[in-house]
């Protein structure tokens, strides 16, 4: 029997993927020749932690690969090897390979061994090449006299530390690499063997390190255990060392380490004054466990101990309960209005208070699901760099509004459309440097990604300063395909709309980047499926701009409730153009087309909701009811209803989950009186109606 480690796999994968993102970001920021040591540390820590975790979980291929990677990174960290273009390239490839390996292991698929061993070979060649070159490593610092001020580290792991793939052995070994370490174990809480769960940690340690070691370096060792342990780093006054302890072997010679315990080596009388010893600050910092770790912004997600990881299911459950509460509250409010008498006023005041609190609660829960769009944006620097490289273009990527938050579900689905747009900008939009210089532009083109709140929506813009959309070419292509008549004249907006048609691509040759024509239509479809819209504007020679408008969340929709007979339906506000009453006789009948009415110079078909849903209406005369002009999939229709009831935010309940898919209905909601109202899916409704007409 073994401990079931699979229960911790999820957290390991999630953390590793995040860590790889951070590693990639750090690699992209790394300056060739003069790298920031903090960035190299960040990169090293990621490799180190993935190695440790994968070894714990028995993912030996990943552990072996990260071992080679770590060896190389260690050379960089110590300054023994310069960061060259080659090295940076290999490291970026390593990120890809590690990601692929983790994905494969996560999906229980075989790992692409060839790819891994090829890259591992490259890594080892680089390491070997360096080892043949004369070493330039810094001379190791002589150990300091132990009378000097020392650091005391109290490390008390929480019980679950081991289960999370953190091993104190690894951390303490790393500490001992920083300088001569004294260690004292506290096994007071170690229960009898029979009561120990192997994955629980019952031990704690007190360690002492030389004063020259930076506090930051010490804390960094425990970075990955943050949240899983109590850590205190304090400076001991001179000569205060009182640990009766073991001294770990020097890391350089673990193989020759003798078994027998040896006393700590006699303090060496240092000939040199300790160059970097922060003597003046020492007393000030004494007994003040200050947290002075300089956080790399890209790592702050990991270092932020003020956050917890919660599964999406739990949040959805919470959302659902809050949704139910909102309904109950609406029901009570409605009921409260019917009471009379001296206490009715009090009741209503209480209900009003409940409503306010409910709204706040709902907003807070919604906020929990919100994530900054930087989660999506962060993949672009690497992508742009690689693409620009491949296409021989110079591209500067500008990201703004990365902190704009939107619902996790929306966020996950917007990634692919954005990737497509950015690829298009780079492939079709930005011109090669020569062309740009010839037209008086800087050789490097700019691709700008921006996100911002606009009203109740989020607007995400992808713009470039390239050549802009080529109207003439789009039009001639559309004509060649018979999408546009030879003599039709189209406005600019209409021409740009053509690029969203299926199978439309103007790229002269198909590259592996874009140009297969399975693009913009899919982008538009994806955006639409999120309840959003995409628009394009362009100026010849100045660039183009794609604007995606998205709802903040998919869990709540702003709706117009309409009455048809005794039923209530919700029409999403985003689909509504306007509502109007038709005059008697303004409706014409066309053979095979049903009824149409004139709307701003256009003829729109009328869809009688009572017919589509088989409901007995209050009136069948069009001039006695109302028509809601709604838009879906670029088509407009008039929905004939009995009456408009009011606008409200409704919590969407999935019909698919609870019942089944019905064309023309996107979901359901529960109204204040407890009755169920169906939410209309306008594009689906148009399809249903036109099919019936055809039949």
């Amino acid at each position: 029997m073994t401990v079931d480690l699979t229960q911790f796999h999820g957290a390991f994968f999630e953390e590793s993927f995040e860590a790889l993102d951070a590693m990639e970001a750090a690699l992209l920021k790394l300056d060739i020749g003069a790298p920031d040591p903090e960035l190299i540390n960040t990169i090293f820590r990621v490799a180190h932690s993935i190695k440790g975790g994968s070894a714990t979980f028995g993912f030996s291929e990943i552990a072996s690969f990260t071992h080679s990677l770590e060896t190389l990174l260690d050379e960089l960290r110590s300054g023994a090897m310069p960061v060259s273009e080659d090295v940076s390239e290999v490291l970026l490839k390593s990120v890809d390979v590690m990601r692929a390996m983790l994905r494969a292991v996560q999906a229980k698929q075989p790992i692409d061994a060839q790819r891994v061993s090829d890259l591992q070979f490259d890594l080892e060649v680089i390491i070997a090449r360096k080892n043949q070159a004369p070493p330039t490593a810094a001379v190791p610092q002589p150990p300091a006299a132990s009378a000097a001020p020392r650091w005391q580290v109290r490390f008390r792991p929480y019980r679950e530390l081991l289960a999370r793939g953190n091993d104190p052995l690894r951390m303490l070994r790393e500490l001992s690499e920083l300088g001569e370490t004294r260690v004292q174990i506290d096994a007071q809480n170690l229960p009898p063997l029979t009561d120990i769960e192997p994955q629980d940690c019952h031990l704690a340690w007190t360690l002492e390190l030389p004063g020259e070691v930076g506090e930051e370096a010490i804390r960094q060792v425990f970075d990955w255990a943050e949240g899983d342990c109590d850590l205190e780093v304090t400076r001991l006054p001179e000569g205060a060392s009182d640990l009766a302890v073991e001294v770990p072997p020097s890391p350089s010679s673990p193989a020759e380490a003798p078994v027998a315990l040896e006393p700590p080596p006699a303090p060496l009388a240092s000939q040199e004054p300790p160059s970097a010893a922060p003597a003046p600050e020492a007393s000030a910092a004494a007994s003040r466990p200050e947290n002075t770790v300089k956080a790399d912004p890209s790592m702050s997600a990991h270092a932020d101990s003020g956050s917890i990881r919660v599964s999406v299911d739990k949040i959805d459950e919470l959302m659902n309960t809050v949704g139910e509460l909102v309904i109950t509250q609406a029901m009570l409010s409605q009921l409260g209005g019917q009471f009379e008498g001296p206490q009715a006023e009090q009741l209503r005041a209480g209900l009003a208070q409940l409503e306010r609190n409910m709204r706040e609660l709902q907003e807070s829960v919604m906020r929990v699901r919100m994530l900054p769009i930087s989660f999506v944006f962060s993949r672009f620097p690497r992508m742009v760099r690689d693409l620009a490289h491949r296409l021989g273009k110079q591209i500067e990527l500008k990201l703004t509004g990365e902190q704009t938050e939107l619902d996790k579900t929306v966020l996950e689905k917007i990634g692919d459309p954005l990737v497509h747009l950015v690829r298009n900008c780079i492939d079709h939009g930005i011109e090669p440097p020569e062309t740009r210089i010839a037209s008086g532009k800087p050789p490097a083109g700019t691709v700008h990604l921006d996100a911002a709140h606009r009203g109740g929506n989020i607007a995400v813009e992808v713009s470039d300063d390239g050549g802009g959309l080529d109207k003439a070419r789009i039009l001639s292509k559309a004509r060649a395909r018979g999408l546009v008549g030879a003599n039709d004249t189209l406005s600019d907006a209409e021409i740009y709309e053509l690029i969203f048609l299926p199978g439309f691509s103007t790229a002269e040759k198909t590259t592996d980047v874009s140009g297969r024509g399975v693009g913009m239509d899919v982008v538009r479809r994806n955006v639409k499926s999120l309840g959003g819209a995409i628009e394009v504007s362009s100026e010849s020679g100045r660039g183009s701009r794609f604007t995606i408008t998205l709802p903040l969340t998919l869990a709540i929709v702003d709706g117009q409730s309409v009455a048809v007979g005794t039923e209530t339906y919700i029409v999403p506000l985003i689909s509504i153009v306007e509502s109007m009453q038709l005059k008697n006789g303004s409706v014409s009948r066309l053979s095979g087309q049903g009824e149409v009415f004139s709307f701003r110079g256009d003829y729109l078909p009328v869809i009688r909701l009572h017919q589509v849903f088989g409901v007995e209406p209050r009136t069948r005369a069009l001039h006695e009811g109302l028509v809601v002009v709604a838009e879906g999939d670029g088509r407009r229709v008039g929905l004939f209803v009995d009456d408009l009831l009011g606008q409200q935010q409704v919590v969407i309940k999935s019909l698919e989950t609870n019942y089944g898919h019905i064309e023309g209905i996107s979901g359901a909601t529960i109204l204040g009186d407890g009755s169920v109202a169906l939410i209309l899916d306008v594009p689906g409704l148009i399809r249903v109606a036109s099919m019936r007409r055809a039949a």
Binding site: A55, T56, L169, P198, L203, V259
Partner: protein, 124 residues
Amino acid sequence: MKLRPRSKPARKPTRGRQTRVAAATRGQAVRRKPLALQQECMLAGAMALKKSLCALSAQAGTVMLDAGAVERIDTATLQLLAAFVRDRRLAGRAVEWHAVSAAMASAARVLGMSSMLSLGGEPQ
């Protein structure tokens, strides 16, 4: 081309000498085969090790442990061994190390557990 040295040959105890834990029990019981620790002593196998140790914890006489083959060991395993050694010692029963590999000795030392595990060589 293999640049990274692969793992060492499996069984290569660096210390062949035996370390006495409790002298009191000398000559008391029949010597049994030592419990040999695996080459990889990691969390995944810790539950199995715990079972083996529990089975031995009440055994009269000296329990022999063989850590000569250990190449990788983690805190979880060392914690189990420490609890085992301590429990036996409290009950007045002996634990002896048949062999201790360098990897095991170094890990115990890094964690400050050498004396807890009675790897030090001194009878207690």
